[in-house]
Subunit: 340 residues, 4 copies
């Protein structure tokens, strides 16, 4: 039985922690939690009926019962924790975005390789039943060669103040659109060549004065290395719900995936038809997180490569950086271009 430690008890961290605590993931159990804030730590332990919790990840990495860690802290801590975890011989599932830049990613990948531990990145859409069915249909040639992939993520959550500084948070392209970036790579089977992005702050008046370059809405056009096209939109603080949809245009057809409908109930009255909208990625992708956690455990036990590994995480970080540069400099940015 693999012992799992979740580092960070924010929203994503708790999803993973609940999966492992409830015994939903065969072959693994939650044995510890890391959370620096005492109050949040106690609350999480209580909910998870967990005895062991640490304030510092170093303590967890020294705990021999811990075989693997889930890293769900703010992005700036990812590199240090992942490298330390690898050096301690722990397997790692690291949430997206992998890190703040390519150099950090390289260090993390190198550390995991040196220690021969599994390093998986949290692109859980690759485990979602809908996205998987979509991918199967694309791969089966139902729409011929792919021409254009469009992917959007709009989230209801208002950006938190620490996100305002996009030098450290990397902005919505990282927080919200990392998944879309990964989907474009996944569905086109290609790396990004060049991106052009436009960002703007429409719903976050608090950030305007101090962080004039903060954006809560972004569109991005991409040229893929294999000549395919890509288009992404991202939004934070939309009021209507959580929206994650993707369209893949091929030579012979179009595949659409994603829906705003929270359930199948529709009320028809004199005011028209009314239906509930998905309110959170936590509802929408709950099964995907579970499948991701299951596969993480199986990758470790069967000693095979994860569906999304370090290079996938790094590739997304590169696109985020290029996108942010494009927004700032108002010009298309090539991937691998020397960043000013």
């Amino acid at each position: 039985m693999l012992g799992i430690c979740v580092i960070g008890s924010g929203r994503a961290g708790l999803i993973h922690a609940r999966n492992f605590a409830a015994g939903r993931i065969a072959g693994a159990r939650l044995v510890a939690l890391v959370e620096p804030v005492a109050e949040a730590r106690q609350k999480a332990c209580q909910e998870l009926e967990l005895d062991t919790a640490y304030a510092d990840h170093a303590q967890a990495l020294a705990d021999p019962r811990v075989d693997a860690v889930i890293v769900a802290t703010p992005t700036t801590f990812h590199r240090a924790i992942v490298v330390a975890a690898a050096q301690a011989g722990k397997h790692i599932l690291c949430e997206k975005p992998m890190a703040t830049n390519a150099r950090e990613c390289d260090e993390m990948i190198a550390a995991a390789e040196a220690a021969r531990v599994t390093l998986q990145i949290g692109f859980m859409r690759r485990f979602d039943a809908g996205f998987l069915a979509d991918k199967q249909r694309v791969d089966a040639g139902e729409i011929g060669q792919v021409v254009l992939v469009k992917s959007l993520t709009h989230g209801p959550t208002t950006p938190k103040p620490w996100m305002y500084d996009i030098r450290t948070s990397l902005g919505p392209l990282a927080e919200v659109n990392s998944h879309d970036i990964d989907s474009l790579r996944w569905f086109t089977g290609s790396e990004f060549e060049e991106v052009y992005a436009i960002g703007g702050n429409y719903r976050s008046p608090d950030a305007r004065q101090q962080y004039p370059d903060f954006y809560d809405n972004v569109i991005l056009c991409a040229r893929m290395q294999n000549g395919m096209q890509g288009s992404i939109s991202g939004a934070q603080g939309v009021k209507y719900g959580y929206d994650a949809r993707c369209e893949i245009l091929g030579e012979k057809g179009l595949i659409t995936v994603g829906s705003l409908a929270a359930n199948s109930v529709v009320t028809h009255t004199a005011d028209g038809s009314q239906a509930a909208v998905v309110q959170s990625w936590r509802n929408l992708f709950l099964d995907a997180y579970r499948a991701e956690d299951e596969d993480f455990v199986r990758c470790i036990l069967e000693n095979r490569a994860p569906r999304a590994g370090g290079p996938d995480g790094k590739a997304a970080v590169l696109v985020v950086n290029a996108g942010n540069q494009s927004i700032a400099e108002r010009r298309p940015v090539r991937l691998g271009e020397r960043v000013g």
Copy 2:
């Protein structure tokens, strides 16, 4: 150019009149209107830019410019007008329900046959693009042998006081569900054998005291002669819109037709997703009415039988009568049974 006279300027009458007045129907033009109420007559003439209007249908039948009539009066007048029109050599498109009982229908059919004029009944769903596509798919064997046809019509209009007496109005089974009855015959390719119906007055408190047997909501189960099953529901005064949907269950699949969506616009806000509902059969079946009018003209000009003729009208009236008897006597009623 066929000269058309519309008899009755209610809602259905005006739809036909507008089609012919606007020149939308090749080979025919509106030449006259019959409406006994002076005010309604003048209003209709003005809207239709029409010179000729009569208070009595006998005048219209004497007008040599009139080649064909559209009968859109209350049901009780259908027999007399249709028989007179046939005797005057006019072709006839008679709105549903054809008449109040089978004997009247027989007289109308006989008169049209004797005069060798076209007698078409206003089952315009047989001309609707959706229902036609549905029928084509059924006939192409896409779902195998038909097992069960379910059809519903719910209308927003509150029943008018003259409908309260179901002996003369025949009730919602006639006013609302004639189309569903015709659809069951059309999709099963069979006559009705036996029906069982339940009716109730849920939204028409004004009728309760004087017309205790009035119903504004009805469900009906049918056994078809060829062994297939049928199910109908009807409702008047529903607040949410106009609802006409049909489902055909076959041995190998299911076909659904009909939608509540008035257009493709959906607004997603914190209150959920919201869309407009179809508000009237006039919007929903506008193209079907036009196709029906066009085919009526072509049937006359090409001297061929209409898609829905007198026997189709009579068959539906028989089902209405049996259904009403079933509601009253709380037992299944066989078609052709001696009516008490």
Copy 3:
């Protein structure tokens, strides 16, 4: 920690067994299984990583680690097992249909009451997120007073030979439509007064000769005691998927629940739009089964009445019996009528 024993390792039994074996249900664990067929028993134990399995339920009832049983055997065994379980002081979740007739139901209810154990009936749609949202909207008055409830269940599974004898199996009204019957009671808040049903065998040629009264397709009209109307359709062996939808017509609107879409993926090609259909109630209601199992455990621990208890099970059995009698005698049958 409640010890759970699942009796019967058919499809429904395994769903419950998997829930408890995987630790998905807080406060309870699977401790034993009863399955008379050795091969099936071993296969189930292997899948569930379970040590203890019995060939006979009496052995399980004697096992002190068993606190509660899930009864998922063929209907004919329900009475004997439930009564014995109650007498052994075990709490009971009994699958639908509860039993073959009202007398059996009464014995089961009496035994549970005498032993003061929980007796819950497996109407898991009451735990489905969609149906619950539907019920909330109805109860909140969004569509005013209910007028008509329509509910359908069409299943892909071909009837098994033992179902052909409807005297013991009770036919599709029990196997397939028990849930719809329960939904009509739930949404109208009323008992059934009278039903009329039509059945036919359309897809089961094997049964025709020996079981001429077997039906694999049924429609049923109902009059509820409070004057509301109900309509049900049931089908076995439909090829297209698993179909469970419900519509509630109120004075002021309509609520629809249920969808055929298996996921949100749609492929658009020259052949049109194509989407996957739900293939099994096991997929559709997996979360509902889990919520049902969770509530069963909580009802026991908190000593409160289950959402669907013995009287709910009995009420559905009465409707099934009346419906079958109506099909056989081709007349409406009142509930509580002396059964011939």
Copy 4:
């Protein structure tokens, strides 16, 4: 009664011609047609039951029965014909794209103003019921301030050889996306400030050698002058149907308009759910073309400005030119920038 002459008997020309020939447009009638190709001219006259047809537009402009012209020729002829028509005192409805560059547009606008004739541009989506409902909801503030407008048009028609030279045809941005460009202006209430576009040839192998800069697929990101964002995609020769959808993201919600469903019929079988896809803009926007023609006539009769006039046509041409330049130069292009 206004006399209408349609210039050009291609697909768009025939739609207008049929509207006016059939008398569907109150206050106007088709009196003549201009088509240089004899065979096409005769065929059109026959279909339209029209006596008068000219090989040259100059002849039509000299015909005193002609009060207004519909210009539906290839784009390169628009300027000359519109200017001549204005000078002849004829009112003008000119199809999109208005012309090949801004200077031509200016000449056309000036000529119409000098002659005091109506000059309307064929942005018929502004007359579509769905897009109008969408606009109403936006203007009513249902989603707050607009943030981002996304609009796509994918058409099934393979590009014709004359379109391969984008210097004269202006490419798909003009042929296909003129409507999307207009929608962005309409829904944002703003002019374009800067665009960035990516084009590629994915389905037109014939064009590759001789016209390496031809593209049949394009994505475009836009910065509007008022700070809003815009995103467009265009495709020619998609196999699956005609696809025109738009999404408007506001501060408080999202509005979607457009649907791929050709009708409401869905077949569910063992192969899944299957529905027909809209096959042509001619089906989808038939009512919009009629409403556009009606409004054109009313604008003339009531002497009021058209819903989409010369400046709207010019604005779209400017965006097309900037987009094509962006594709060629792989950089964002500001509107009004000196074109190389």
